[in-house]
């Protein structure tokens, strides 16, 4: 990047931003300051208005009221290109990547360098290599790789480079670490620190408290579309921020209850699929086992194999001591295995159907006589789980797409509670879920284990793994690299097992 003293120090000030959608107020006169040379964390539960605010900064939405000033000049963004011209960039949480073109082309999309319409692939690759190195991503991203082959973390890197080559002065990151492993997060944080030292104004949206305290200089909290306050990081605490976010005291996020562990419910012996190799592990009744590891370690693929959605090439899965051969998820469900997949919206929920329909989806057989669904029994079932899991919805006929992330996850859990499976596989059960709902989901998982359900939780958040699991199985590159009991486990130990190989070969660790 250019010399810090040449760069103008530009701050962003938004005042009284208001926005409503079809009469529903998303933002009610919010002020936001993003001072130059500082990282400002933007926090709030899902639905607090963070995304709406970001979309106003990018010009995707136009505010109903309020002003935005950049470097002391009032600006108005009629469309995204206006905001870019003013030096504002928002790094999307789920970047759009063109699948069948190279990383280099993806980076310069819309502004391919070249003369007279002719694009020189070699020049493009060279330019990309230079820009990747400039932002510290050299070695992590091959400019010739195709978009479709990139990991979520690499897609995020492409998005970051795309944004930064314009040298924006105001940069907002929207939950950038949700698809990153801890190592990749470290690389990102170093980059953010550099941008800050160069005098950029940085906004940082995240649900992860620990991260905020690591990367941010100040934190601004929104709740229900209103500004609750801004605190300097050094003068505040995690508990204060949580209190500001939820408007109530969460003295402890969650505490495991101890309960008896029964016989082995699920046992894997030498299981191989296209993505994982020689996996042996077991989960007992009443036990919570966590599968830890980096993104891409093969945990999701293993979960799908256990749930009958991926073929097993060798090895055996035993349920309650009986060897099983699953040809479809229906077989696995019949054997008593339920899966709450990682991508809730894409893979678990029928978004255009009601809460009731989604809860009853796996148990319609039980609720039917002669093929006809007993609608009263169905309503009673839905009502039971809505109140038991405290699913916040105006009614059971509400479409699932109108619920917040945490409540959507509870609908998925309700489906499996209704099915009463002996074994539950939960893939990232709290991803994109706000703090309050997170604690509730932990409590639900704990209660399930207390009732004798064998729970296998996949999680990339180490505090979650440590807080929830009786045992922790760590995977790397499709293999199990170690197993830790609750007593032995520390973040360092888990991480060491998760990245053992990377330490020597790729050297991405600090």
């Amino acid at each position: 990047m250019t010399e810090p003293d040449e760069v103008p120090r530009v701050s962003l000030q938004a005042r009284g931003i208001a926005k409503s959608f079809a009469g529903v107020r998303a933002l009610a006169g919010v002020d936001l300051d993003l001072p130059a040379g500082k990282v400002t964390a933007l926090m709030g539960e899902n639905g607090a208005g963070k995304s709406t605010l970001l979309k106003i900064l990018t010009g995707d939405y136009q505010p109903d009221a309020g002003t935005i000033e950049i470097g002391g000049r009032v600006v108005s963004f009629a469309e995204p290109s206006d905001s870019r011209a003013a030096g504002v960039r928002v790094i999307a949480q789920e970047p759009e990547i063109v699948p069948f073109v190279s990383v280099a082309e993806n980076i310069y999309l819309g502004a391919l360098p070249g003369a007279g319409g002719a694009v020189s692939q070699r020049r493009l690759q060279d330019q990309a290599r230079i820009d990747l190195a400039r932002f510290g991503f050299d070695g992590l991203l091959d400019p010739r790789a195709r978009g479709i082959d990139l990991s979520p973390a690499q897609r995020q890197m492409v998005e970051i480079v795309r944004a930064l080559i314009d040298e924006p002065r105001v940069i907002c990151f929207d939950e950038p670490t949700s698809s990153l492993s801890d190592t990749e997060t470290t690389v990102l944080f170093r980059l953010i620190a550099r941008l800050r030292d160069d005098g950029c104004a940085i906004g940082y949206v995240s649900h992860r408290l620990r991260e905020i305290f690591e990367v941010a200089d100040q934190v601004t909290v929104l709740r229900d579309g209103q500004l609750i306050g801004t605190r300097t990081i050094s003068d505040t605490s995690e508990s204060e921020v949580v209190r500001m976010m939820v408007g109530r005291d969460l003295s402890a996020m969650f505490e495991r209850t101890s309960h008896e562990v029964g016989e082995v419910a699920l046992e894997l012996a030498g299981v191989c699929t296209d993505d994982v190799t020689d996996i042996s592990m077991s989960v007992r009744r009443g036990e919570i086992v966590a599968l830890a590891g980096l993104v891409g370690a093969g945990r999701t693929e293993l979960a799908l194999a256990i749930s009958g959605d991926r073929p097993i090439t060798s090895g055996t899965i035993k349920v309650g001591g009986v060897a099983q051969k699953f040809r479809s998820p229906a077989d696995a469900i019949a054997a008593g295995i339920g899966l709450a997949p990682e991508e809730r919206k894409a893979d678990a929920l029928v978004m255009v159907r009601s809460v009731r329909d989604n809860i009853a989806l796996a148990v319609l057989g039980r609720l039917s006589r002669f093929g006809f669904v007993n609608r009263r029994a169905e309503r009673e079932l839905a009502a039971t789980y809505i109140s038991q899991l405290r699913i916040r919805t105006p009614s059971m006929s509400q479409l699932v797409q109108n619920l917040s992330g945490g409540n959507q996850q509870k609908v998925v859990l309700a489906r499996w509670l209704a099915k009463q499976t002996d074994i539950l596989v939960l893939d990232e059960p709290t991803r994109g879920v706000d703090v309050g709902a997170k604690a509730e989901i932990y409590a639900i998982i704990d209660e399930l284990a207390g009732k004798g359900v064998a729970v296998l939780v996949i999680s990339s958040e180490l505090p979650e793994v440590l807080g929830l699991a009786d045992r922790i199985v760590v995977m790397q590159d499709g293999r199990v690299t170690g197993e830790l009991t609750r007593a032995e486990a520390t973040e360092e130990r888990i991480l060491t097992l998760a990245i053992a190989d990377h330490l020597s070969s790729e050297g991405v660790l600090p």
Binding site: S328, P341, A348, M351, R353, G371
Partner: protein, 341 residues
């Protein structure tokens, strides 16, 4: 949960009190209400220009005219709710029509009826297998079927009308009979529509069809054997299309390979889209489709009563389909960027 410190929050939305009008609108549905209003407006306009529109005989004509396209619209609704589309229904009706007439000539009415339905089932099975096992999208798979099944109908019939069923009591009953003063044709449509409605709304199969259309991965991971549903729905579409083909034979007195069925796939999709069936799947109802079928029937009847050049009918239908889908997409909040989803 004794050790957790989570307390219920006060964020539960209050139940909003509605006034009776908006409650009624909610119950009927905005979509159905607009269709009913459109039908009423159309009736008033056409009736004021030509009073013979209101004659009982004309109403019967409309009813009988919509039966065949109505049957296809009913089954198209199921296919689209499941997230698919079936462009073969018109061609299958044509193939079933010639087959029924030719089977009738050789083996009588029972064999011709059952045989034609079986041929429809086989056509549906073929489409379904291409989709499920060939991994071809329903749009392309059935586009191929549209032309191929039409070709088969022309091959077996040499491209000409076949047989004569005009003297057979069964076919006469289908075409011109009536029960309780209502023509048999309308009974057939009403019966099929009612059965499909009950299936969609009250049975496990119907509910799973909505789930497959709304999110097939979620349906699969919930233990629904989605391939069976896809095959089953395409077979159902084939059988009902064949039933429509048999009615074409009955009405014209002979088997028609192409005329009488060509373009019906288009009408069926228009009716479903107008009726509010989401073309992305997962949403829609039989009542909407039936109202749309009635609307289309009145529109086409009115245009011919008022002496509008028949070629305008095609323009009108095309415009209606576009209008229906544009409204759907706008209500979905589709962004105007790039190719629509």
């Amino acid at each position: 949960m004794s050790t957790t410190t989570v307390t219920p929050t006060s964020t539960t939305p209050d139940v909003v009190q509605e006034n009776p009008v908006s409650h009624a609108v909610r119950a009927v549905g905005v979509q159905n209400l607009s269709l009913i209003l459109a039908i009423a407006a159309l009736v008033l306009v056409i009736g004021s220009r030509n009073s013979s529109f209101y004659l009982a005989s004309n109403l019967k004509t409309i009813g009988m005219a919509v039966t065949i396209s109505g049957l296809l619209a009913v089954v198209q609704t199921v296919v689209i709710i499941m997230g698919g589309i079936d462009l073969t229904v018109g061609s299958v009706a044509g193939l079933a029509s010639v087959s029924s007439a030719m089977l009738f000539t050789h083996a009588g009415s029972t064999v011709s009826f059952v045989g034609a339905l079986a041929i429809g089932a086989v056509c549906g099975l073929i489409s379904g297998c291409i989709v499920v096992f060939g991994r071809v999208t329903p749009m392309i798979a059935t586009l191929a079927g549209l032309i191929a099944f039409k070709g088969v109908a022309q091959l077996v019939s040499d491209g000409r009308a076949q047989g004569y069923t005009g003297a057979d009591p069964f076919y006469i009953f289908l075409a011109r009979g009536s029960v309780l003063g209502i023509p048999t044709l309308i009974w057939v449509l009403a019966l099929v529509a009612a059965l499909v409605h009950v299936m969609l709304r009250y049975t496990r199969i119907g509910r799973n069809i909505y789930a497959v259309g709304g999110n097939d991965t979620a349906a699969r991971l919930s233990g629904i054997k989605i391939n069976r549903y896809i095959l089953g729905v395409f077979i159902l579409a084939g059988v009902v299309a064949a039933l429509a083909g048999i009615l074409i034979t009955a009405r014209t007195g002979s088997g028609q390979p192409v005329s009488g069925s060509e373009g019906l796939e288009f009408q069926s999709i228009t009716a479903a889209a107008l009726g509010g069936v989401a073309l992305r799947g997962g949403k829609g109802s039989m009542s909407g489709t039936i109202l749309a079928v009635i609307l289309l029937g009145i529109l086409l009847n009115g245009m011919s009563l008022l002496g509008v050049n028949p070629f305008w009918q095609n323009v009108a239908q095309g415009s209606l389909l576009v209008a229906a889908v544009v409204i759907q997409q706008l209500r979905n909040g589709e962004r105007r960027v790039g190719l629509p989803k």
